[in-house]
Amino acid sequence: MPVTVRIPTPLQRITSGKGEVPCDGATISELLADLERKHPGVKERICDEQGKLRRFVNVFVNEEDIRFLQGDQTPVKDGDEVSIIPAIAGGAPAAATPMVAASEGGA
């Protein structure tokens, strides 16, 4: 049951430049574990030492923030789109690409 996980630009170095990675799992937690198996190093960037999603990393299932669903236990099914989107200073979750350009000194 592959679910497409969209990877923000700053993490694409870990995913060999891939912007989308098909992952397996019935929940967000399982998906992220599979993502880590496929591309080791991703998880420590988006989760803290306790394995909790970092404060400024947002995960969306079909445009819904999982914090307002069931967190990392939010169920996912075939065909769902999961996006990992870093929040930007200024509060609003933005598309991944612009955020990265700015954080890497684009300004």
């Binding site: 700053p10 960037r45 803290d48 970092r54 404060r55 400024f56 990393v57 914090r67 307002f68 870093p86 929040a87 930007i88 200073a89 200024g90 509060g91 609003a92 979750p93 933005a94 598309a95 690409t97 612009p98 955020m99 990265v100 350009a101 700015a102 954080s103 890497e104 000194g105 684009g106 300004a107």
Partner: protein, 418 residues
Amino acid sequence: MSYVLGLKCRECGRLYPKDVIFVCEYCFGSVEVDYDYDAIRKTFTKAALATRPKSLWRYRELLPIDGEPRVGHASGFTPFFKAEALGKVLGVRELYIKDDSVSHPTLSFKDRVVSVALTKAMEFGFDTVACASTGNLANSVSALGARAGLRRFIFIPADLEAGKVVSSLIYKPTVVAVEGTYDEVNRLCAEIGAKYNWAFVNINIRPYYAEGSKTYGYEIAEQLGWRAPQHIVIPAAGGSLITKIAKSLKELKMLGFISDAGTRLYAAQATGCAPIVTTIKERADIVRPVKPNTIAKSLAIGNPADGYYATKAVLESGGAAESASDDEIVEAMQLLAQTEGIFTETAGGVTVAAARKLIEQGVIPRDESIVLAITGNGLKTQEPLMNRLGAPTRIKPTLSSFEQQLQETLAACQPRSA
């Protein structure tokens, strides 16, 4: 001389050089300026301060610039005074007002952050500055940027009050009215900022910009005679002011300027946009974004950038939070004007109304020192007052016409001092 060591991630603690960086590349947390307090101690003394000009730059060691200030030489050090008449109405013994409604040059506390941000932007070599704003920031970037000779792009929600739009246009920046909420304007600006080599004061310059708010807290302590008040009620939009007032008091304590007063901080928002107040009241971990609907447009940020840190600062201080309806906001604006002679904007009404509720609920004790943060000017937000204040007494240009009206007026109005 600079006292800035670098930037530090507020989440994971990673260190960065002092550069145009606003997000931690590792964990995406926001970064904050890190100072060399041991070096600061040597020159930043009460004796030294006593000889310095009365502007926000008197606290220069604690501001993140390397060279001399470029703008805002007359900004900051706004009036601070005991509000006897309002205190009497609210039934409290020791009430003070910190009045940034008369900030130079654009009548809001944003002159503090913009003075720092533009100085820093010029140090970085930018010739163009920009901002996403609910109005006051727009005015300040427009004005101080004009003085500095910078090109300015100002992004605002299209439904702002006329006073706030005119107060930007007069300085001839490029004003872009975006058909959307502030949160949508801000999101757009993040994309624009990634593409254009501009200093967005509240985005890529944010770590430096935000430090300017600390001067509001330093001044409260200094103007109280190097003493921290027991309670400060602060309006919240993005939540940065609360976090920076908290930081300012911590720094002054660390540097030995004040003793620990256990100052409690209180967040004030409009009921129609209260994501931070809700988070504080519910003791929640996550700030849930809202769609704003309030006359307090300068506070209408539904997804506050510093909501989490503001919540933390309030709760750590032992403070609380309260919101005010549109009617309560207007009543409070009138109350402040009619007791203390201060015409504040809607956000000031929010602060006064929230303080009133917190006092009535017994959350803020009546016999302790309380400061109200008044951060903006009412001349900019006149719309909500239209048709609510009555009209001038209209007469013919004759003495008899005046005296006929006077009979009615005298009966209706008694001086408070009588």
